[in-house]
Symmetry: C2
Subunit: 361 residues, 2 copies
């Protein structure tokens, strides 16, 4: 086995999830993530944690959803009980076809997600971490050879996370102290309130309220969004290509939307619930180790010189204690390039220009 698989497993278990003896761990295994799962299982054994593996296959879910009449049971008790009692959930993404769900109607997927809100909340209440095993399907989605893609992925994952955390702390401080963000880039001119919100220094560890590996972004929960944004980085959402999404906001809500490709996907997402029309996240990619767009949100949103905004659910970590932010069954990230000809301002002060942060100089 590639020794980087073991390195990946060790970072995931020790740095990211902080697994300790006696932790009850759910390991969610994608069909092609078997090798990583074996390495993680070994690490969990070493740590004296408990292991229960679930099978996360889009092909299974597709078959199930397409056959179902759409009247889904709300928050199945057995699954909720599992996650309510789990300490850690490690999701090892790795399917065989990233478009496996392409022919499941959007309304079926939305109904299924809505019916499982409680299960999802229980999972989010654990020390959960999502990562991905570099598979052939992900290489293909990135337009890369398999060997090339593995190098890319492990360069992004096997990093000095502590050093990156120190660097990102600068932006977190600015966001925590500020009240309004303005983002300018091409047609984009957007203002958002971040008053009273706490930014997350997302350094790929639950110790930083960060739940992705790789990570390398700073994010917060915006409100009262006004203006226009164009997401010029193409993406695949729910297995379908989406390009040049344009959203117009008024009083926090999306009031107009358009897209060069995948407008129906965006429309379906916006229809999920009231929260799906508002932003749940403003994220700033700061991982200069991720050097290209690979059509995978787990990596793309951390790429330096990009900003992403998510429709839907806000993360509790960004909100004052006891306060809930934007609620929704969805959380869908959209990206824009903030390299050349862009400006990121906090309370009228320029924090980044043309892709370079002021504190980087």
């Amino acid at each position: 086995m590639d020794p980087r698989v073991y390195e990946h497993a060790e970072i995931l278990v020790d740095w990211s999830a902080r697994v300790e003896r006696g932790d009850d761990v759910v390991l969610s295994v994608g069909p092609d993530a078997h090798d990583l799962a074996v390495a993680v299982a070994e690490k969990l054994g070493e740590r004296g944690a408990t292991l229960l593996a679930t099978y996360d296959s889009s092909e299974l879910t597709r078959a199930y959803l397409r056959a179902h009449d759409g009247e889904f049971a709300a928050d199945p008790d057995y699954e909720r009980a599992l996650y309510e009692r789990a300490d850690v959930v490690l999701r090892l993404g790795g399917g065989r076809n990233t478009s496996a769900m392409a022919d499941v109607p959007g309304e079926t997927r939305s109904a299924y997600r809505r019916a499982r809100t409680g299960v999802r909340e229980a999972r989010f209440a654990t020390r959960w971490v999502s990562t991905a095993h570099p598979t052939r399907a992900l290489a293909q989605q990135a337009g890369m050879a398999y060997e090339e893609y593995r190098d890319f992925a492990y360069d992004a994952i096997c990093r000095d996370w502590e050093a990156l955390a120190d660097e990102m702390a600068h932006l977190k401080t600015r966001l925590d102290e500020g009240s309004e963000v303005r983002l300018l880039a091409g047609e984009t001119d957007l203002t958002m309130s971040i008053e009273g919100r706490t930014a997350v220094n997302s350094a790929a560890s639950v110790a930083y309220d960060s739940h992705n590996l790789p990570s390398g972004e700073v994010f917060t929960a915006p409100a009262a969004t006004e203006g226009v944004v164009v997401f010029d980085i193409p993406m695949t959402i729910q297995g379908r290509p989406v390009r040049d999404v344009r959203l117009e906001f008024d009083g926090g809500d999306v009031v107009d939307h358009a897209a060069e490709a995948g407008e129906d996907v965006i429309a379906e997402i916006l229809e999920t619930d009231a929260g799906a029309r508002r932003l749940g996240e403003l994220g700033v990619g700061m991982n200069r180790g991720i050097d290209r767009y690979t059509n995978n949100i787990l990596f793309d949103e951390k790429m330096a010189e990009t900003v992403h905004l998510a429709l839907g659910r806000a993360y509790d970590a960004c909100l004052p204690d006891g306060e809930t932010g934007n609620e929704s069954a969805v959380h869908v990230d959209l990206l824009l390039d903030t390299g050349a000809d862009s400006r990121f301002e906090i309370d009228g002060e320029v924090v980044a220009e043309d892709g370079t942060f002021v504190f980087e100089e």
Copy 2:
């Protein structure tokens, strides 16, 4: 996909587990059982049941167990809660290497099993069914080509179960009414009490207290075993070959054991706990559709003209209400040929001779 995969899934869901709308179903998926899992997921969607898939990989378990110090947490709460709330557990066996656990020390496996007795009991309290997807690993273990093996497996699985149930009812009646079984074959001369016990007409459905697909056996829970038995059908137990096991019983307990191969495996099993030295099952294979030995207990023990005895745990279905039979963390089946030169007597009356039942004539 081979249409027999869908037929298998339908028999499993409808005939075997009697899945109904609203049932909470755990689907345990072996790494190479993916295709069957997809077909079962479709069927569960059609029925309006709930689906949670677990990943059952011997390679994961091996990595975990070998790395662990052996002090396992007793009955992890999150896993027990899952099974306590589940209605149905469908186990789709299908690993990539039936010897994947061969280098895990027997005492580690026993300790792990012992620590999880409560989880196992919770699983056995559901409408559970074990089946196997015909994989290349199982074909290899059977010494058969893949295509040939699939024909064999589907011939055993896709049967008229109702007709077989009617045939097996004859033996069940004899066992239910009898008090002592005597088994004669070669060196074997064994007597067992079956007084007050209820035989299971194992017709591959929970409606018959039968939890295997394929099935086709009648079994009960013996007691007070006396005499000698030689298991002349070779087997693979815990990934290791076992051949010509000879057990001597006195007052229900194994008092002497030997084997031509795998004596250490048998010794480890006998050491698990007190119940591992007693019989938990007397089973009579009656499935004439299974026409050869394939080194897989799920199929072998149902083969006509064989009898199997299990060390360890007895099935509650064989016992009077409220009474518990032999208790153990293990249940290990051993087989003997009861074709030529054999006799199966109940209370001194011959029920089968040289492989033919009296009621078959």
